[in-house]
């Protein structure tokens, strides 16, 4: 059987983390091809619904990433995003999803290497814990 390849959805803020992912590209920093980026204007606009939708679809992990607290284009978006993610974690816990599946990171536009490292770490970690329980169920029903 082929090795399990986790699927990751990354919601990245337009100003910092999306730019960091671009920088990883322009600097040719390699990372595993398991992530699909959804561009959002600010991490604070990530509606819990988006994350739940990704898990419902079968994502093994979700990354919500944006500017550092002092760098936000919209003053204090990251603070609000932190609060949303904290609440969301409780919901995921109730749903029986492991904590590691949702990752919240602050990645500045200059941190292409950091972005690549985070994706590498996530892939390794998700490989260890295995496919999302939602994915297994979805496949069983199919």
């Amino acid at each position: 059987m082929a090795e399990f390849e986790p699927q990751i959805v990354a919601f990245c803020c337009n100003w910092c983390t999306y730019a960091a992912a671009d920088l990883a590209g322009t600097s040719r920093v390699h990372y595993p091809p398991n992530v699909r980026i959804v561009r959002v204007m600010c991490s604070s606009m990530v509606n819990p619904l988006y994350v739940l939708k990704a898990f419902e679809g079968g994502a093994d992990g979700v990354l919500v990433a944006g500017c550092h607290h002092s760098d936000c284009h919209y003053i204090d978006g990251p603070v609000k995003c932190d609060a949303t993610v904290d609440k969301l974690r409780k919901v995921l816990h109730v749903l029986g999803l492991e904590d590691e599946r949702l990752r919240r990171e602050l990645v500045a536009a200059s941190e292409g290497v950091v972005f690549a490292r985070i994706i590498k770490e996530m892939v390794e970690q998700l490989k260890k814990i295995g496919p999302s329980p939602f994915k297994v169920k979805t496949e069983a029903l199919a």
């Binding site: 959805v9 730019a19 091809p33 204007m41 003053i75 690549a116």
Partner: protein
Amino acid sequence: MEEKDLSHPRIGVFVCHCGINIGAYVNVPDVVEYAKQLPNVVHAERNLFTCSEEGISAIKKGIKEYNLNRVLVASCTPRTHEPLFRAACEEAGLNKYLFEFVNIRDQCSWVHMREPQKATEKAKDLIRMGVAKARLLEPLEEIEIKVAPSALVIGGGVVGMEAALNLARQGFDIHLVEKEPELGGTLRSINKLFPTNQEAVKLIKPLVEQVKSHPKIKTYLSSKVKQVTGFIGNFNVNLDGKGEENKFNVGTIIVAIGADALKPTGQYGYGKMTNVLTQLELEGRMKRGESLGQNVVMINCVGARVPERTYCSRICCMTAIKNAFLIKESNPKAKVWILHRDLMTYGVDFENYYRKAMELGVRFIRYSLERPPEVIGDKKVEKIKVYHELWRREIELPCDMLVLTTPLIPAEDNQDISKMLKVSLDEFGFLLEAHLKLRPVEFAMDGIYICGSARWPTDITEGISQAYAAAAKAAGPLRMGYVKAEAINGFVNEDECSGCGVCEVLCPFQAIELQPRDGKRVSHINEAVCKGCGTCGAACPSGAISMHHFTDEQILAQVEALFS
């Protein structure tokens, strides 16, 4: 221009080889064939460089030939090339917001070079997600807001006057408001200026004359800004002063209200002993030519860089050195000691000035926060006991006058200004700009600018530079006569809105207000003020708020498409 029918999406997909940058790692022909069979895609093609002239004309041609009403380019990154492709769409008669970018170079070929097959699969996924979003894109317009060609400058100190003059000389009508009965601000109490030792009055007097005689500047003395409503382009200002009210409209606002000097009541006998003063009070005595005694001791960092006020006020070291310098210069026999913790002599020529002060005989003694100097005396300070950090022993200094060097602290009015103009304060209570490095003299609120010590303690040179910067920024919209508001902004579905007000609290730009509508209160977003962060939408418990160009439906469609 003829209106395009948008109800049935007709999507054109243009996949870029980017020379070999994408083409060498992603199987572009395969990706194009894949894109062709995606729902609503009526045309897909590949270009060697979509951003080249051929590529751009291919987009324009495609729009006409296939009657496209959505365009998707899969190439480098929107951060560099989105404006170009949007412009191509506009030139072909398609609203630029009907364009979607898919990043298959920076996010794909360049980071997965060793895995071309997986890079190709990823490119297909990203395009499938992009197409799902493109299907739901809607045309948007950037609204134009008219800007009145006048500005309000709050604060008639040297910084406020420089800003007012700068704008007036560019031809704009300026309303300059000063709460004191005279222009000049803190500088009116200052004797001479470092590092030139020029008399402060020689700087202020001509400035005040120029302000008073300038036909474009209207000065309001003993007046305070009572209320400001509106937004960039059209702020309604209400003044309160001398029993009369003044009302006018301005396009932009500059805040130059300065800062206050800390009065260190209770410290080192200040307020109890007769020969203890602050540097600011010393300036007054020196200006009036009063005698200061033979032995002058200055203590720096009184109330600064202490646990309750951790910041360095920057200008005080130089103020102490300047006053010590001037005392020694006029009375070489006087003894002057500066007891300091660290010394900040950071500006142009400041270090030289400090050396000259040492050459004149000013003594510098370093003390530590843990062992501060002690005052000896009853009704008057007679001696100062200090542990000399370098000598490692305690010494006593004779003292006829003790001068306390205190920091600048946020002006009392900062709280009111913050509430009135909806601008932020930092942790100490100074007014806070939008971004320290990217937008240094602008507030997050459009059309409001800051300069001088209202933001952070500045010396005269820095304050004037900031005044020019703020004036330049404030002049931009005034000169244009209009500003364009974000098209990517929030919108409310009033039927869904329960009027809870969470959005109003969370909005970082105070763009949201609850307004009565058909017997209930609903959220209203001011398009001119909204910056489109989308915080309100994510937090809305009723799902009543979404953001143009990043609607819930669009993002959910993107996510769903990944797993379809």
